[in-house]
Every structure is written in structure tokens, then in C-alpha cells.
Amino acid sequence: MIRFDHVTKRYPERGEALADLSFELESGEMAFLTGRSGAGKSTLLKLVGLLERPTRGKVTVNGRDLGGLSQRQIPYYRRELGIIFQDHHLLPDRSVFDNVALPLLVSHMGRAEMARRVRAALDQVGLLDKERVLPTALSGGEQQRVGIARAVVGRPSVLLADEPTGNLDPDLAREIMQTFRRFHQAGVTLLIATHDVALITAMPYRTLTLDGGRLLIDSGIW
């Protein structure tokens, strides 16, 4: 569950990115977040991931007020999330396996269990045969799928994605969306920021449209 109560985020350099925003996403819901670039999509995701804190208002995730989390608690909170980036943020000098294993490594998981989980995650995105390869040897679509495997390997309850299909051709983009639908069916809460309107109108999911940091349209729960 993700809930925003009158959230405002102001940057000193460029003013308000989010203005008095309120909405609620049910647990296990899948929703798109759309709007022109600069509408506040990335800022919203950063607030959920606690990469930034709101200037005013309250963000609640899984029933927990994020404003009440101390610096020490943040890492443990982040392990409940999976985050997918547009430019996938893979480490170029580590193998696909090591990249995907990163979230498990930081939580001190044993080697055997780690290997099992990494292979399961790679299997879900169809890259089981590429575990020894360096990310630079993969195509753009494959790199994005490695990023997805890394986001889900810790079995997060909430998955955030920022323009996950931004650099991909329509076929690959649809493929990625199919992967997300499978996670949705498995009970994960998903919030996907994208400006690819053609893609989301073809799918029966709730869409939040931002404009100038405000909620312009909420298509409602499907």
C-alpha cells in the first residue's frame, strides 16, 4: 500500500515538483504514473523509495509513515522495495549474476540461497543463460531485464519503475509489461512511471496523470 497525504516537494533550484498531492494505492494494485516530463513522476517515485524526503505532507508505505523512519532504518525499509531505472544502473564490471545478487549481498544472505534466488529471478526474465556475461555484452532490452531481475530478486512487496521501457522498441516494451503483469498477479504492488501513452491505454490498469506536480486525472481503480 502506498499513500500520499498532501505531499509537497520543493527544490531550492526549480521550485515545486509536487504540490499538495494526495492519492492511495491499494496493496497488490498495479498502476501507471504518467504526464509530461517535469510533471513530477520521478520525484514521486523518489519519495516512495526514500531517496528524498517531502518538504510537507506524509508518505505512508505498507502502513509505515516514512517521515518516522530514522537514517538507520532506511536500508531495511528499502529492502521491501524493488526499483527499476530507465538507464538500468547496472555495474559494468560485474557479471549479470553479481549485478542481480547485489540486493541479496547487502542483506548478508548465504551463498547457496543467494545463488538459488538469483537464478530464479533471471529465469523469470528469461536470462538464465546469461548469468556469466558482463552487462555491456547485452542488448538494451536484455540489460533492462537484468535491472528488473535485480529489482525482484529480494522478493519486494512494492515495485517501482521509472520509464522502464523508455529506450526500448514497442515489441520489447510489451514484453517488459507482460513481465510486470506476472508480478502483479503474484501480489506485488507496482507503480510504473511512463510517458508511453500508447502502451498504457492498451492495458486495463489504473493511471495517475500528473501535471505541474498536481494530480490531473485519476482513472480510478480497475
Binding site: Q71, R72, P103, V106
Partner: protein, 320 residues
């Protein structure tokens, strides 16, 4: 969501084992990182090593001089110059009387003839001495004070004054002023070594700190990513702390080697010098305490430097 979290049925011992294996891995990985940039690592190790060598060498020099001075202190002797014309039996009686005193360990009579022979041998005035019409030297009683008295400068002076008043004694000489001066100088040397050690410890801190600061900047993307996927600050900091400790350890080993090398190099000239004084003076090498200080202090300094450098950068990664 509780259903999908955590590691079910993991025993406490298994958790400890995983944690230990992670530490061991970090230790090795940080060593590997050092080896991947050998030139940069070597330069940092060299700076650390040389910084630690200077105070270590000064400390060794002071210690050796102190050992040398200790030998002189123990031989702090009192020379009694007897009145000229004191007859042989009276001299003998005086010497025997002195030998019974508890303050004195040993009494030796140096006759004028023996004194002249000694002078001829050590002064290099052989030819000139031959020109003297007769032996101008008085009989001398060389006294070794008992150990308890020798260690106490006040008691030595008092003893000297008492002996000077004995009949038949012309002059009593106790030459300890220079020994005291030497000890003051050695004390100064020791303090200088400490001061130098403190200053150069700061240098080590900054050298390691700066190297790791660059390393943190180089791996910024990786660090941010680890923070995003839920790494604690301790986890992110750990490999850098280990790297700092490695730099310190290798620097300490280098310093121990350099200090030993300096001693070996000085051994020959010191030996020649000692031979000129008719003695032997084996230089004392690196003792266990100094070695321990280098091998423990080095890594601790490296660790502290790493902590300072990395801590500031990590704080910058916190959510704004």
C-alpha cells in the same frame, strides 16, 4: 507482505557464519582492489611506510644511545689523586681501608708508571712524553662505587666529598656532569620522536584518507546503487575501512623493513667508532614493542583515515 520477507528457519549460528564469511570476503576483496591499481596502492603504502619509518628510526637511535649511556653510568668512577710523595705502604693501607667501605665495590691502584703507560698508549703523545725528565703523574686510586651508590647522583657527590677529605688525598674527581647532559639530550630525543610520531601519524591519516576519498569518488555509482538496494552504511563503509587497514599494515611492514635496513647500514660505522674507543657496541634491532606498535598502529591509523574520508561521503548520500 510478511509472508515473502526474511530468511525462514535461519539459526543464529548460520547468521553469524554468513556475517563472518561476508567479513572475510570483504577483507579479501579490498585486498584485490588494492592489487588492481598496484602503482597507486604502492605509492600510498610508500607514503605511509616512510612516515612511520622516521619516528621508528629516531626511537631506535634514542634507545641505542640510552643503552650506551647506561653502560657509562654504571662505570661512573671516582678517581682519587693522591698527594705526591705518599709512600708505597701508606698508599697500600689507604687502598685497603677504602676497599672495606660498603659504598665501594672495587679499588684499583694506578701507579705513576702505569698511568704514563696508559697515557702513552691512548693519547698518541708517545714521543713527547719521552722528553719529560721524570714522571709527573701522581698515584691514582680508581674507585668503582657500589651499584646502589652509582645509580644515585647525590650519593655519588657526597661520597666524592667525603673521600676528598681523607688524609693523603690531593683531589677527588667525579665526572658525571656530561652523563647527566647526555641523559637530558636522550630525553629530548625521546620527546622529539613522540612529537614526530604524532605529526607523521596525522600525515598517514591524510594520505590514506585522500587515497580512499578518490576511490569513493570513483565508485560513487556503485555506492549509490548499493544504498538504493538497502545496504546499510556499515556495509558500504566496510571495504573502504579494510582497504585503509591494509594500507596501514603494509606501510607498517615497510617501515619495519626500512628501520631494520637503516640499522644494518649503520652497524658497520658504529662498530668502527666503538673500536676506536676500544669497546664493542652491538646495535639493538627492532624490539617487540616497537614492531608491535608499527604493525598495530599502522592498520589503526589507516582505519581511522578511511573512516574520516568515507564517513563524510556517505553522509552526502542520505535522502534530502
Amino acid at each position: 507482505m510478511a509472508r515473502r520477507r526474511g530468511h525462514p528457519l535461519r539459526s543464529p549460528w548460520a547468521a553469524v557464519r554468513v556475517w563472518l564469511s561476508h567479513h572475510g570476503r570483504s577483507l579479501l576483496v579490498s585486498l584485490g582492489d588494492l592489487a588492481r591499481a598496484p602503482l597507486a596502492s604502492l605509492m600510498t603504502v610508500a607514503v605511509v611506510g616512510i612516515s612511520l619509518t622516521l619516528p621508528a628510526t629516531l626511537h631506535l637511535a634514542t634507545r641505542n644511545l640510552a643503552a650506551l649511556a647506561q653502560g657509562w653510568q654504571e662505570s661512573a668512577a671516582i678517581s682519587l689523586f693522591l698527594s705526591p710523595g705518599l709512600a708505597e705502604p701508606e698508599t697500600q693501607a689507604l687502598a685497603e681501608g677504602l676497599a672495606r667501605r660498603p659504598e665501594l665495590a672495587q679499588v684499583r691502584i694506578i701507579t705513576p708508571a702505569e698511568g704514563l703507560a696508559e697515557l702513552r698508549e691512548y693519547s698518541g703523545l708517545g714521543g713527547a712524553l719521552d722528553l719529560l725528565p721524570d714522571n709527573p703523574l701522581p698515584t691514582v686510586l680508581a674507585l668503582d662505587p657500589a651499584a646502589a651508590v652509582a645509580a644515585d647522583p647525590t650519593a655519588l657527590t657526597a661520597l666524592r666529598d667525603t673521600l676528598a677529605k681523607l688524609p693523603g688525598v690531593d683531589q677527588a674527581r667525579l665526572d658525571t656532569a656530561w652523563v647527566r647532559r647526555l641523559h637530558a639530550l636522550l630525553g629530548l630525543g625521546g620527546d622529539a620522536a613522540l612529537l614526530l610520531a604524532a605529526l607523521l601519524a596525522l600525515a598517514v591519516l591524510f594520505a590514506v584518507g585522500n587515497t580512499l576519498r578518490l576511490e569513493v569518488a570513483r565508485r560513487r555509482q556503485e555506492i549509490e546503487l548499493m544504498a538504493i538496494v538497502g545496504a546499510t552504511q556499515a556495509f558500504v563503509r566496510r571495504p573502504f575501512l579494510y582497504a585503509g587497514a591494509w594500507y596501514g599494515l603494509f606501510g607498517g611492514v615497510l617501515a619495519a623493513l626500512l628501520a631494520t635496513l637503516a640499522l644494518v647500514w649503520l652497524q658497520a660505522p658504529v662498530g668502527r667508532l666503538a673500536a676506536l674507543y676500544g669497546t664493542e657496541f652491538p646495535l639493538q634491532g627492532l624490539d617487540g614493542r616497537t614492531l608491535g606498535a608499527l604493525l598495530m598502529g599502522g592498520p589503526l591509523l589507516g582505519l581511522a583515515g578511511a573512516w574520516l574520508a568515507v564517513g563524510r561521503h556517505l553522509a552526502a548520500c542520505a535522502p534530502r
